[in-house]
């Protein structure tokens, strides 16, 4: 909700293609309704919790310097898009899909389905923009995008941003995991290596040009790091 507008400011500052600016106003609004819907559901379930149980876990779910990067002219915009939009939104898509498949409550299922619908568009935006930009970029610039993407995966997703069990083992991570459903809180969850490999094939099928040019498989990085953590 606060990262999308920072990127929108950057698009305006750099006079990027108008389509980006228009789309990101909608994306900002969609992130807002995700927050609102999640809050309303949490309230129905006994009350919204205003912060992680342990202070140490707050860093995992806070901003990760995305806003700062978005407003920093020295950080290439394509690198931010690749890391924040392509990589993280892909993971968001996958997590929401897992939750959707698991949610039997009709209200929860409906909310997750609607959020997932938005996330699909958010993912598509990132990949479509990289498809548009990569042919115009040098090998060095593409390498910077790769580094930024891997960096984002390691320093955001793998710090427990969405699922605490991906965070390095700590008292705070264990406290966050306590009481969560097995499908979300377990290291033996459904996103083992087997499912991840299927994801890689799906990503490649969906975005062959971009994946080929990036030279890295985002999901591969994720699976490798997550497997290391699991061991």
């Amino acid at each position: 909700m606060s990262e999308s507008p920072a990127l929108l400011i950057r698009f305006c500052q750099e006079k990027r293609e108008p389509d980006l600016r228009f789309f990101f106003t909608i994306r900002t609004q969609e992130e807002s309704r995700h927050a609102e819907a999640s809050y309303l559901m949490a309230e129905k379930l006994g009350g919204y919790i205003q912060q992680p149980i342990k202070t140490e876990s707050q860093k995992s779910v806070a901003t990760h310097g995305v806003r700062k990067m978005a407003l920093d002219p020295d950080t290439p915009l394509e690198a931010i898009i690749a890391g924040l939009v392509c990589a993280l939104e892909e993971f968001a898509f996958d997590w929401f899909k897992i939750m959707l498949e698991s949610a039997t409550n009709p209200v929860a299922n409906r909310l997750l389905r609607l959020i997932l619908r938005d996330e699909v568009r958010h993912c598509a935006f990132g990949w479509l923009y990289l498809d548009h930009r990569l042919p115009q970029m040098s090998a060095d610039q593409i390498a910077a995008v790769e580094r930024a993407t891997i960096n984002t995966i390691e320093h955001v997703e793998l710090t427990g941003y969405r699922v605490p069990w991906l965070a390095p083992d700590s008292e705070a991570a264990r406290a966050e995991m306590a009481g969560r459903p097995a499908v979300l809180g377990s290291r033996a969850g459904r996103h083992g290596r087997g499912d991840g490999e299927a994801d890689v094939r799906r990503y490649d099928a969906a975005h062959p040009r971009t994946h080929a040019r990036l030279g890295h498989r985002l999901a591969d990085v994720f699976i490798m790091r997550a497997s290391e953590r699991s061991r």
Binding site: S2, P5, C12, R21, T28, Q29, E36, L71
Partner: protein
Amino acid sequence: MSAVLAPQRAFSGEIPVERRFPLHLEPSIGSIRELYDAAKQARWDPQRVADWDGFDAVRYPADVRDAARLSWSRRAWTEYGGLAESPALIVRFCIEHQRESDPKYFLTVRSTEEAWHLDCCHRFAELLGGYVAAPRAPAYQALFNQGLHREALDIAMPLDAYVAAHAALQDGLDLELYRGYRDNCARSGRARRSRTAGRRQDAARRVRLVLSRAACAGLGRCGARPRSVPRSRAC
């Protein structure tokens, strides 16, 4: 034209540092929450809101078309400022410690509405002979490049002061201007009225937002109408 038209806005170079938690998402300013709900209900699509294909520009003399083309281009230039200012305000509300959730939610819709306004102005200018991408005089261009988004993010600018000065006052003027445009084009047919109606409602909602915020922040005594704007102002 003199270069003094370009306002020099100071920027301290610093934006506030966020302390996100506890993250308040509960409704706390009822009037603004109502505006947010109203904004969600009143969404409209620039592509479908008007009969663009049915607009026949050649019905109008060339000089009228050119004037209208420039006029709608100029509106696009002013609307464009909001495209960066609204997200800057969202960011500022988000990074200020323990700010209410309602303005954050509302501003996300406002940001979308600014995009729709811009889209409309651009489409109409195109139909009238082509969008004009820049003012003729370079000095005049600076007027449209005020960098309000920097001021909204600047730690040296208190958020409530920014909201009162820029959002309440400027959006109030915007509302009155669009009311004037509507009255002026009332004789010109339903199609034109429908184009301005959505934008007028958006402007009215925004004015109510900022005045409500100003009242909550104790700024009502600064001249802004406290609590809320009467419904009749919402067109």
